[in-house]
């Protein structure tokens, strides 16, 4: 093989390597751009899909509070995170004592007390697409309520068909120990504040629009709240309005 042929081969190989390297760099560039676009779109999505984060002591960072993590936390501590424990907090409002205020984004329910105070309870609220906002009233209260899944819920989950005529109240009933029925004027909104068989789910966007509390808390609220009490539901991003 002549020297000029070897030089040609080396030159050709060099050119090919340069072209391949450019292709690799181009792919890196494209991947980075797609990555940035994804980060921006996730950040935009996060602004609308409000959820909670919990601080992980082992990993030393804030992580999404998912149903799996909520179950694990409850199993480990036998309670929900401390933020969701029932407590009296300062609350500056012109609303009358006895009014219920629900903050769907922060997962708190407030019962207004005299002297600019309120009892704050942790709650679970509607998952994405099931949140709602509005001003309604307590229309009815029930101990150990019977649960009848709405037709739309049965359509979404055919396993519920067996309860089409209602499930009697009791420890297995998903409405838990008490239900407070929310009305718009004289009309039942079909939304309730109720107990739960899944106490770990407090702090999550998980329900079909009902407000769920742990059973101890809903029993406490039930005995304090009066029929006709005003209920203000604040839920940023919810498209469904009630009573306004």
């Amino acid at each position: 093989m002549g020297c000029s042929q070897m030089m040609n081969r080396e030159l050709t190989a060099k050119i090919m390597n340069t072209l391949r390297a450019r292709a690799v760099a181009r792919r890196l560039w494209q991947t980075a751009i797609v990555g940035c676009a994804l980060i921006v779109s996730l950040a935009a999505h996060e602004a609308f899909a409000a959820s909670s984060k919990i601080y992980d002591q082992q990993e030393r960072r804030w992580i999404e509070f998912t149903p799996e993590r909520a179950k694990a936390f409850y199993k480990r501590h036998n309670q929900t995170p401390a933020s969701f424990s029932r407590q009296v907090v300062p609350f500056r409002t012109a609303e009358k004592p006895g009014t219920i205020i629900i903050d769907g984004v922060r997962h708190f329910l407030y019962l207004v007390l005299p002297d600019k105070k309120a009892i704050r309870y942790g709650i679970g609220v509607g998952r994405e697409g099931f949140g709602w906002t509005g001003i309604v009233q307590v229309g009815r209260k029930q101990e150990w309520p019977r649960w009848t899944p709405p037709k739309e819920m049965i359509e979404r989950d055919p396993k519920l068909e067996k309860y089409a005529n209602g499930m009697p109240g009791g420890p297995e009933n998903p409405l838990g120990a008490r239900a407070i029925y929310l009305f718009e004027g004289s009309r039942d909104t079909l939304y309730r504040i109720h107990g739960t068989t899944e106490p770990w789910s407090i702090g999550l966007n998980i329900s079909s629009g009902c407000i769920r509390m742990n059973n101890d808390d809903v029993v406490d609220l039930y005995q304090r709240v009066q029929i006709g009490a005003k209920v203000i539901v604040l839920f940023q991003g919810a498209s469904l309005l009630k009573g306004v």
Binding site: K14, N17, T18, R20, A21, R22, V24, A25, L28, W29, A32, I33, C36, I39, V40, L42, A43, E46, A47, A49, A50, S51, S52, K53, I54, Y55, Q57, R60, R61, W62, F73, H77, P81, A82, S83, F84, F91, R92, T93, A94, E95, I101, D103, V105, R106, H107, F108, Y110, A118, T133, G134, I135, G203, K230, I232, L234, Q236, G237, L241, V244
Partner: protein, 111 residues
Amino acid sequence: MRKFLVEPSMRLAAVVVLGVSLAGCASSQPDTVSYTQPGEIRNTTETAPADLQLSCASAAASQFGLTPDKVLPTASSKLADGTYNIQLMADGRNYLCKIDENASILAMSPA
């Protein structure tokens, strides 16, 4: 072993883009603090506290002669100076309210 030859300018561009991309990832993460308590919860969206939202609703009802039971806070956000912007809805109209941490109304106007 074959090595790819990468032009310095392309290498620099790739490093810069990856760096910016990673910085974007890092800045989108919340700050971690060593004194955070186990089980502490916070929200991905910082809305105004419920009592401040209702203070704005009440002030709007007084200022614009609205039925108090029909004024609903629909959105809120925290501003850099620690105050909050709150959007209200009443009778199909929107109103904007600005309030501080002490529940003092700083501004109110139809949107």
